[in-house]
């Protein structure tokens, strides 16, 4: 429990008690819950382990010791936060768009677009990318997203948690009430962590908000000393 990024007792209770879906008639054959809209993290906490205690392998611990949020956070160079960081540790809104074959997440802060393919498996021999390759399926009222194919150029959070290209992220995304979306993450990377990391992020619906332009390179005064 302590390893959760955000643990909200209220959200957990709603998870357990509510099976309602919102804004869409799911009694129709093929109908799925509506999770579309603009969402913002309920509480912004840049670190997954604010009190330390990440289950590093020796390889990851060595990498972690070389990280410094003041000098080599890739974000200082306006490089993408990637998945899962922009989903769990970015204080900007995201818009979810639903299509029959894809769920698309447009994130305002890092100007990332994440495509979750609903009608295919992972391609073989993926080229590593910042956001990886995401596929999804509905399990009842929960969108289960499976993502692999990451590069190792991102941090898991703002605190410098490293990962390898072997990272595998599974998310369970559920709208627990009209205004609340909960994403539960399982981050499995045997090269970097001795056991899977679990985290949860709660998002709140922001009616009337529109995703705005955000050009990080415009007036970025921070200096990146990474490689």
């Amino acid at each position: 429990m302590r390893k959760y990024l955000i643990f909200s007792a209220v959200a957990a209770a709603m998870l357990a008690l509510s099976s309602a879906t919102f804004g869409q008639d799911t009694t129709r054959p093929g109908a799925v819950p509506d999770i579309s809209g603009v969402w913002l993290v309920e509480n912004f906490q840049p670190r997954l382990f604010p009190n330390g205690g990440a289950p590093f392998t020796p390889w990851a611990e060595m990498k972690f010791k070389a990280t410094d949020p003041q000098t080599n956070d890739p974000n200082l160079a306006c490089l993408p936060m990637g998945v899962p960081r922009f989903m769990i540790a970015a204080p900007y809104p995201m818009e979810i768009l639903q299509m029959p074959t894809r769920v698309i997440i447009i994130h305002e802060g890092p100007q990332m677009m994440r495509q979750i393919y609903m009608n295919r498996q992972h391609p073989k021999d993926l080229d590593p990318t910042y956001s990886g390759d995401a596929i999804g399926k509905w399990e009842g009222d929960t969108l289960v997203v499976d993502t692999i194919g990451f590069n190792d150029k991102t941090w898991l959070d703002g605190g410098g948690l490293p990962h390898s290209e072997k990272m595998h992220v599974v998310e369970r995304i559920r709208r627990t009430d009209h205004d609340t979306l909960v994403d539960t993450f399982t981050i499995d990377d045997p090269m970097a962590y001795t056991k899977p990391i679990t985290a949860q992020q709660v998002y709140k619906l922001k009616p009337g908000w529109e995703i705005q332009e955000y050009v990080c390179e415009e007036n970025n005064k921070y200096t990146y000393q990474g490689k």
């Binding site: 509480n43 912004f44 840049p46 003041q70 956070d73 970015a90 204080p91 007036n219």
Partner: protein, 128 residues
Amino acid sequence: MRTRLVIFPVTAVLLLLSFAGATYAHHGFVSWFDMTRSTTVKGTVTSFDWTNPHAYIYFDVKDEKGAIVKWSAELGALAMLARAGWKRDTLKPGDEITAIGNPAKDGKPIMHLDKIVFANGQELSSAL
């Protein structure tokens, strides 16, 4: 040095551990600014950068000997500021403001802005 420059006393404020309601900035302000302290500085705006990834207010502050000290205040991203009520013309050169925010850890005349108070007493927070 910082203590000499500020007009009002620097007040130690223990902030809530949660970042709910805090000004949002993407560049890890926690590592640059002392988020447990608040400083209050009164000055005259010289320029206002309405830019991403962060907006900046530049202002002149007179120290106790009357010398001008060049201060700057760092804000968040434009879209979030706009949602909090800021506009590109919220400030213009010559405006008298009181800036309240978290001081830089290294003692430079830079702050992470929490809010400004205009000459007429009106306040504008940089957080939602």
